[in-house]
């Protein structure tokens, strides 16, 4: 994640001007990106659309040393930022005769001349004063999102400022939406780390109520510097979204906490004083810049926080930072960088907007880039005990929890962790703990998932009778996985990994016994061992559970039967206008069946309705593709083809509607069946065992092809055996689909 992050800066403004107080890493380098040969500088440089030329205006006195530290070794492919500060120092020291041809030669000189001064004062090829000034916007631009793009560098942050009188205080009134958002955000941020909300009297801020007097600090800005990603590698608008997420998840929360601490206890100014004097000391003593950076880590709390944050973001883990004794947990969505790569390689599915349900269940923060399955009662939880840190998985957890002093909470969580298992559904866990599903279990799960301690998976059958398949790609090369696997299970007599995968991948073709136990394990004694194997694979996303989905078909015979029965019933009271009416009725039924904007649409809940309206639009765009495709096959004049393709279609439609009863059709949503469909459904049960019939009536509303077997069983509170029985007895009318949910 955050592969584009280059640096984190803290910029302050006082009456004397702006300065970069601290930065991490000490000497960030923008990745060179112009893989083009260097233009001949002898030519006139009227080519502003050529960035390299643009940086060297021709009528500027040709400056030989307009080069910064070489970004990479290939001189043909590099592009340097000019830096005026350095230029001056350069031209003094270097011989000054490299005019146009000497572009590359001064590198050696410059390396020598790369003085300590440079390191203090330069960043990304700009002088740090200039950059600081650039990054401290007008006061009117403070307290809002800041986004500045200069060629290939993006600066993102949320500058904050003191009031007109120089005092730092929260905005008293909330005149604008934005401000309210910010305030609530601050509160939320401090709530997410429970420590802060649980201990209101913070140790350091004893004199809180009067706004801390600030001596010089006017504005400060916590800036994240990113390398602007190649726009051509991602879909339009994705980069904007990428920046937005980084802003929302990192830049804003940190700025909010810093602002709060500044208001409450003048924290930022004090820190900046410390850092500033340390910097002056170091530079006066002639110390290396790195020694300043190192000393700063000990002297302040912002500096190490920035370091930890940067490193965590780069390694795509959760950053546990502490600002002014305020623990903060920050992270970016693990799949954020997917935005930057064109979609072909990753599935389009994974980037689709989450369902409204998901959005609600997971919350705004986790709705994007986490690739989370929906959080439902029939899912299960897989604890990632050997997390990325590897050491004590719960140490951090315990520390942050025990800090809250909320013993019951801690105990509850520990109990939950003890009981959690992939073979139990969340609903089971809730009933075992006697917890409420929505208010206790789900929040705990959310918390665990957000902190990457667990992930939501499909429930695993205790006897491993779950049907698995393999994902498209593994996270690591197979050879590496095999080695890891051997390390873990090499001595235990498990099949080697490739063979195991082979067995899993071929299992689902068989008629019966497609599940893991039958295809791999095969003996009861091996279950505990293979349980571990499955967990190992689940943790690495190497298994996908296949689910059964069921749809109901109304066959022709069934329809005829219903029709005959209806005729018999209505024969005696057949009216004159009867026929047309029934035709209309059929029409309506047919409409309802296809669930476009008809009556059925009105009957849906808003959520469902939205989902319905979305689906056709997806199909719609594809539709055009395919009709094009059909046209393509009989290449002819366009008008005629249009006519041709339309007539059969409309003909078909008429047939479909009037002749609905003459051919088999699906009952797409049995839960909202039309009267005719209901007659069909009841006709399916004719001559069946009453117990079965009752069960079928109870359960058939879930046979819409969307719900998984797990969900059906949970909702209908039925056992798998009972479901199997129904599937067997109603075989004629049911279609089963096996695919991932």
């Amino acid at each position: 994640m955050a592969e584009t992050l280059l640096a984190i800066l803290l910029v302050t403004t006082s009456a004397n001007g702006s300065s970069i107080v601290y930065r991490w890493p000490p000497s960030p380098v923008a990745s060179p990106r112009f893989s083009r040969a260097k233009p001949d500088s002898a030519l006139t440089s009227l080519h502003l659309d050529n960035p390299w030329r643009a940086s060297h205006p021709s009528d500027a006195p040709p400056d030989p040393a307009k080069e910064s530290i070489p970004l990479q070794n290939d001189p043909e492919r590099e592009w340097k930022r000019p830096s005026t500060q350095r230029d001056r120092s350069m031209s003094f020291s270097s011989s000054g005769s490299h005019h146009s041809s000497g572009r590359n030669s001064p590198t050696k000189d410059m390396l020598e001349c790369r003085s300590i001064e440079d390191e203090y004062n330069h960043l990304f090829g700009y002088s740090s004063d200039f950059l600081a000034n650039l990054l401290c916007p007008q006061r009117s631009m403070c307290h809002q999102k800041f986004e500045l793009l200069v060629d290939d560098l993006a600066f993102i942050g949320h500058p904050v400022s003191a009031e007109d009188d120089g005092a730092w205080r929260f905005k008293p009134e909330k005149p604008k939406l934005n401000d309210r958002g910010r305030e609530s955000r601050i509160r939320r941020v401090s709530q997410t780390d429970r420590a802060s909300s649980a201990s209101p009297p913070r140790p350091a801020s004893s004199e809180k109520p009067p706004p801390a007097a600030s001596l010089w600090l006017q504005r400060f800005h916590f800036v994240m510097v990113l390398d602007v990603p190649d726009p051509s590698s991602s879909a339009s608008g994705n980069i904007t979204k990428y920046f937005d997420i980084i802003y929302e998840q990192i830049a804003f929360p940190v700025a909010a906490v810093l602002f709060q601490e500044q208001v409450l206890s003048n924290f930022v100014e004090e820190e900046c004083d410390t850092l500033g004097s340390l910097k002056d000391d170091c530079s006066a003593k002639g110390d290396e810049f790195s020694s300043y950076i190192a000393q700063a880590l000990d002297a302040s709390s912002i500096a190490p926080a920035m370091k930890i944050l940067y490193e965590a973001l780069k390694s795509s883990s959760v950053a546990y930072i502490t600002i002014h004794d305020l623990p903060l947990e920050l992270q970016l969505p693990p799949y954020l960088d997917v935005l930057l790569h064109s979609e072909e390689e990753n599935e389009p599915d994974c980037l689709t907007a989450p369902d409204d349900d998901d959005y609600q269940v997971w919350g705004q923060e986790m709705s994007f880039g986490y690739k989370l399955p929906s959080l439902t009662a029939w899912k299960s939880l897989l604890l990632l005990d050997d997390g990325p840190e590897g050491i004590d998985p719960y140490a951090n957890l315990r520390r942050s929890l025990i800090g809250t002093g909320d013993r019951s909470l801690v105990e509850g969580l520990i109990k939950f962790l003890e009981i959690a298992s992939v073979t139990l559904s969340l609903a089971d866990m809730a009933s075992l703990l006697d917890w409420d599903l929505d208010t206790q279990v789900f929040p705990t799960v959310r918390w665990l998932v957000h902190h990457r301690r667990a992930k939501v998976v499909d429930i695993l059958h205790p006897g491993l009778k779950t049907v698995f398949t393999l994902p498209a790609k593994f996270d690591a090369p197979l050879s590496q996985l095999t080695i890891e696997f051997n390390k873990q299970f090499g001595t235990s007599g498990v099949l080697p990994l490739p063979r195991l995968l082979s067995a899993i991948s071929t299992s689902s073709s068989k008629q019966s016994d497609t599940h893991f136990f039958a295809s791999v394990v095969q003996s009861k004694e091996a279950i505990p061992l293979y349980h571990e194997v499955v967990l190992w694979m689940l943790k690495r996303d190497m298994l996908i559970t296949l689910h059964l989905h069921i749809r109901i078909v109304a066959t022709v015979r069934l329809k005829e039967r219903v029709k005959a029965a209806a005729k018999g019933r209505s024969r005696d009271r057949k009216g004159s206008g009867r026929k047309g009416q029934s035709k209309l009725r059929n029409q309506l039924d047919a409409d309802g069946d296809q669930s476009p904007p008809g009556i059925a649409w009105l009957a849906l809940s808003p959520k469902g309705a939205r989902r319905y309206t979305r689906d056709p639009s997806v199909g719609g765009s594809r539709n055009s593709r395919l009709s094009e495709l059909i046209l393509h096959d009989d290449s002819d004049s366009e008008g005629r083809r249009r006519e041709e393709s339309e007539t059969p279609e409309s003909q078909d439609e008429i047939d479909n509607h009037s002749g609905e009863e003459d051919e088999a059709s699906m009952i797409n949503d049995p839960g909202r069946a039309t009267p005719l469909q209901r007659r069909w459904l009841s006709a399916m049960s004719e001559g069946k065992d009453p117990v079965l019939v009752r069960r079928f009536e109870q359960i058939n509303q879930y046979f819409d092809g969307r719900r998984t077997d797990d969900e059906i069983l949970y909702r209908a509170e039925m056992s798998r055996r009972e479901l199997r029985e129904i599937l067997h007895h109603y075989d004629e009318y049911l279609q089963t689909f096996l695919h991932p949910s």
Binding site: D49, P51, Q138, L148, S342, R499, D615, F737
Partner: protein, 675 residues
Amino acid sequence: MPSDGDSFLPRIQSVFYAVFDVRQGPKIVYQVPEGLIAVPPPNVLTTANLPTTSSPATPLTEQFASVPVPGIASRNSSTSLVSPNEPRATSRSVYSPQKRSGSASRILFNFDDISKYVIPQSQLCGRLVTCSTKRHRIIGFPVELKGPKYQRNYLRYNLCFVFERGADLSCYEPIVRKVSRVLTACEEESEFLSSPRTSPAIHAILESLYEDLNSYSETSIPIDRFNSIELKIFPFYPNPPPVKDWMVPLALINLTKRIEDNWDLTMVKVCRYIDGVNHVSRIAHLADCDLALTRLAISHLLYYQVIMTIDIFQYSNMYTLRKCIQNLAVAADVKEECGPYVTKPGCQIPDWPKLLHLYSRLKPGKTVLNWMETYEIHELGIDVRRFVSFGVIKGFLRRVHRWPVLLPSESDSPPSDPADLTSVSHRKRMNSLSGSIPYGESFTRKNTSDHAGSSFSQPRLSSITNSHESPTLSCISSHTGDAPRRASAAEKVLEQLRNRDIQKTGGSPRTSWIHYTNESEPGVGISATTTAPQDSPVVVRTGGSESRRQSLSLFPANPPPSPILAKATITATLTPSRPRMARSPSAPVPQTRNGVDSWASTPYPKALLPLLDGEHHTDELAVIFEAGWPLLEQWLLSIGGRRRSRRFRPRFDYLSMNVFTSMDLHCCIILCFYI
């Protein structure tokens, strides 16, 4: 995130031209439409007569996004600019946008807020700078020109475009750069910007930019006798994914109808063979184009989203359902299109539940052919290729690829001397292996019946593998022993394979790079059966494309002498994807009756070995080695090192699941598929 719902391109909210004023600092000189960007009340107006203040106000008719009429646009702007005084009044009276209803009264933002990014210090000049306010995004390219003729020895100016905050500005970046470049050129040549005589013309330029770019997405603004601003906004598409040789392009529009004379020649040739059946490599052969150029052409078409890519259709393919079937199964368009599309002409169209049921029975591990036999597809009149590709195109069906993995021998003992191994002993080993298949029963019906009693046992496995010290295999294990080295070996082979494109220019037959292992090479254990060479002439004489397919495998050491012939052979090899074949499921599978005897001894290209690392699927291998799945499967069987007894092999055996068993000692196949 385009800001406008109806338009692909973001809409310009405002265009303004700002300079560094000697007395006032950064300052907006002209903006179009007027008054949208709040500026501090001017103290002194140095360039007194802003030309726009007097222009008549005509409500702008909302005819954006209409058909591009560049003629009008350029004519208008040309008249207005070449002679900036007389005709401009009329032209502007027509096009003046300043009274755009609604938004004209609204102020977008204060100029002061962003002035330091619009007219920045010199370090930022010459760079593309994008800054943002709460609701807007301003993109500009500040320029600083130095020279004694300017009052402060420099002139700084910037022509900025204002967009909505969420707009994607990728397509405007070149525009901004170019405008800046042309203006700079004008200034350097004739002081166009700094001279009070010509600078008022900038306002007209802004108007043209605003109007034409918003309405027509292109403009042509002559500035003086030598300079003009010629702009066209190209919609921004992301780069397409890399095109692989085994992808099958499928046209989404009628490509051949759009071909024009001035098209690239390769593109014209390539387009002719895009039919949803030919894969890239085959297209290159058919069109007689360089493979790399063909790839380029295809990726160009992909970029413009006029084609999509699907997989190579073979009857040995496997497919599976994807999650979106749950929505697409009820989508009206899918339901209606499917039947007519997949049914052969003249046959009765099966109803949707039937088709859906058939789709749901496509499972990983079950080849299309198996599926056809199980569900008697012939009788339904379904064109299987179209049936499958319909699902793939709609997105609810997905190809399942085979990923062969060559397992290293598990024995720890050092490899035996190659000289020890005679073909006889090798064959013996093979036979002994075929008798004991430890895992076979879990995969296949046939072997279950044969070895019903056998069950998994680790010791037995090791005893079997211990007896496996053929040089070939030890060589393999040395390749596969450590991961990095194996990967590099695979890379090397791929590299070598890629180089063949270059080698091809030397006139050598394309197949010559494949080094087949055959009996003449010492230490290769598969020479046990030597029947293949004797049989092969017969194969050729029986004629037909199928036999030619075999000829590739049976005459490996003697590639066809002329490149042309080689090409023909290759074409035959790849017949599974030929339309004729695909359209007639009655004869779906090329028959390998003549290849029967060479089953276990098919010479295989050595370069195949390092590629069996689970990172390359069989389509890829098939295209690299120009062998269809039947041949490839034989190679894998040979490599896997198990000789099969003839008695148990049914006619289409190689398409059944037995392949996984028969190779399970050293080569197993993983099937992966997407969610």
